[in-house]
Symmetry: C2
Subunit: 145 residues, 2 copies
Amino acid sequence: MTLNDTLLRLKTLGVKITPQRQEILKVLLGEERYYSAEEILKKVQERYPAVSFDTVYRTLYLLKRLGLVVELNFQGGHRRFEFNHEDKHHHHLVCLKCGKSQKLSCCPTDCLTRIKKEHPEFAITSHSFEIYGYCRKCQGLESLG
Amino acid sequence: MTLNDTLLRLKTLGVKITPQRQEILKVLLGEERYYSAEEILKKVQERYPAVSFDTVYRTLYLLKRLGLVVELNFQGGHRRFEFNHEDKHHHHLVCLKCGKSQKLSCCPTDCLTRIKKEHPEFAITSHSFEIYGYCRKCQGLESLG
DNA sequence: CTCCTAGATCGTAATTATTCCGATCTAATT
DNA sequence: AATTAGATCGGAATAATTACGATCTAGGAG
Ligand SMILES: [Mn+2]
Ligand SMILES: [Mn+2]
Ligand SMILES: [Zn+2]
Ligand SMILES: [Zn+2]
């Protein structure tokens, strides 16, 4: 998904295209990874020093409602956001020490179809699946804080 | 798992058994569901009015390190804790409106074994798998806040 | 049983993350 | 160019979590 595609999509949905929103999207589309709200704020401030957390959060939640952004809630209460690249739905292998992550090649679709059958009255909108542990570098250092 | 079993386990591990810790365990063992830190504080305060958040959080993290408690991080940044009943490992179907949940009958074990093979250098310690949406009661009310 | 001490708790303050809000601004339509 | 619904800013408010010094106590030694 390119920036222009995304902007077109927003325009179609009747959402205003502001420079701040464009800049937030540029960050999210820049590297294919997840970001904290603060990381996004810092990056956007390089171009627009006056931008506020309010704008970042409002934009992220807007994009989430539109299905363009995914919210990730990791162990320890760490909240992250990443662009929802079409056909690139994925989950993460997250190191509890350094926070680095790798994409997982696998999504529990069989569980999902089973649960849909078992709970037909429940309107499923999303799911999360993350695996935690320690990467090679951080093994043995778990207890050193 | 009963309270006495758990206390014995803690004793074996060289952890002090305080009345506050016992009370927190009683809450967690009482109903087989997850709790917020605040819910636990309130319940424990019924017996020990002076107990503090500090004690609740420290105890929860202690129990988590010992594998007796699981930390759940739901959409919206909601953090919950539940007792890790042996052989009752499970995941949740969570309503985004009312917060009520149901146990899932299914754990993505095939994904997990696959990931272990693909990332033998990574030391996996835990995983999360939650499904979100709207329960029957809350359907159609999603947008009413 | 009493003493001792490492570790636990309390009370409160500090920190962090997120949300709220009134004043001002602006994208997009007319 | 004027209009206005919706967006942004700056800062305050709220909520969640962590920190810390003073005090207390569980559990082991004697
Ligand atoms: Mn990712
Ligand atoms: Mn549960
Ligand atoms: Zn998936
Ligand atoms: Zn599982």
